[in-house]
Symmetry: C2
Subunit: 188 residues, 2 copies
């Protein structure tokens, strides 16, 4: 570990930089605007270097997706652990985690891009399904009530609204809605 001393090459940093660049480009231009050249250039790496770390564009996308899902999972874990009231704990954590700024700013846009691609990419779909199933098995109720499910869907809907900016809610109102959802989780 302490061999890093005087290391000129730092593959892990390069790899992280590539991930960041990928995320930024997807946020700015969407998945369709993601090109290997652009990623390499933004990360200050050659295309060959990029391909060395991620064998293909697909691998790059999957890698980023995995990383982001892992981060969301960490958020949810933390929120659940910090919540003394068991009832509705998972839903509160779910709501809060999806409205917490992540490592990647505007991560919601990223997630939305993946949400679309899921329909056409089985591997990506499976990764996301497994993630969701794991998180529910870990924290969720075995037989959630209709109200619980409604609250989860409402959190998803609000998240989507954030992504698309369709309704243009003032941020104060946005907060109010989240508070309302949280409040509802105490009465399940």
């Amino acid at each position: 570990m302490n061999k890093n001393y005087q290391k000129k090459k730092q593959p892990e940093a390069v790899r992280a930089g590539l991930m960041d660049a990928t995320a930024e480009i997807i946020i700015e231009k969407g998945l369709s605007g993601l090109t290997l050249d652009a990623v390499a250039q933004r990360a200050g790496v050659s295309k060959g270097g990029l391909i060395h770390h991620f064998a293909s564009k697909h691998a790059l996308i999957l890698g980023l997706n995995r990383e982001i899902l892992a981060e969301y999972a960490r958020f949810i874990d933390e929120y659940v652990a910090a919540d003394p009231q068991p009832r509705g704990r998972f839903i509160r954590a779910y709501i809060r985690s999806f409205h917490t700024p992540l490592k990647y700013r505007e991560a919601a846009k990223l997630f939305k891009a993946f949400a679309l691609e899921m329909s056409y990419d089985e591997e990506l779909h499976k990764i996301c399904c497994d993630w969701y199933q794991d998180i529910v098995e870990k924290h969720g109720e075995a037989h959630p009530s209709l109200k619980s499910q409604m609250l989860l869907f409402a959190a998803d809907g609000l998240w989507m609204e954030e992504c698309t900016g369709l309704v243009s809610i003032p941020s104060a109102q946005h907060e109010a809605i989240i508070d309302y959802l949280i409040q509802q989780t105490y009465d399940l």
Copy 2:
């Protein structure tokens, strides 16, 4: 009807065919899989013919989007008109219309594709925002309660789940959730 008898060219039918082909391809392969050649071929038209009807790929996408939004608006209008109870009427119509099969099967996937593209296409974004604003001004409440907003978001979330197939809800449970949401709209 019989006037068509001798008509060889039917531009409106061709145009409609191009729309259908576009929708089908987006459903199958997503927006990124949409190519002018594929649309033309599926519709049985040459590329030149396609370009004659839609000046660009962008125009094609916007045209289809407009058509679908109009169809959703019609659904909502009908549901509102048929609902004797004014309170929560719009929300019920909203929920129901987004779970009604449209002209284009699996239209949800289409809509999801547009929802993504909105972030990167100002024109598309404006069309959708205007549509939403119009429909709310027409039927919605001026100052919706938090619960009203929550129900709308829940409908959106459920719709998204339909698109992505993330949670894999049995259809019976799906129906139960919709019923629950509808039921909630009577108590606002």
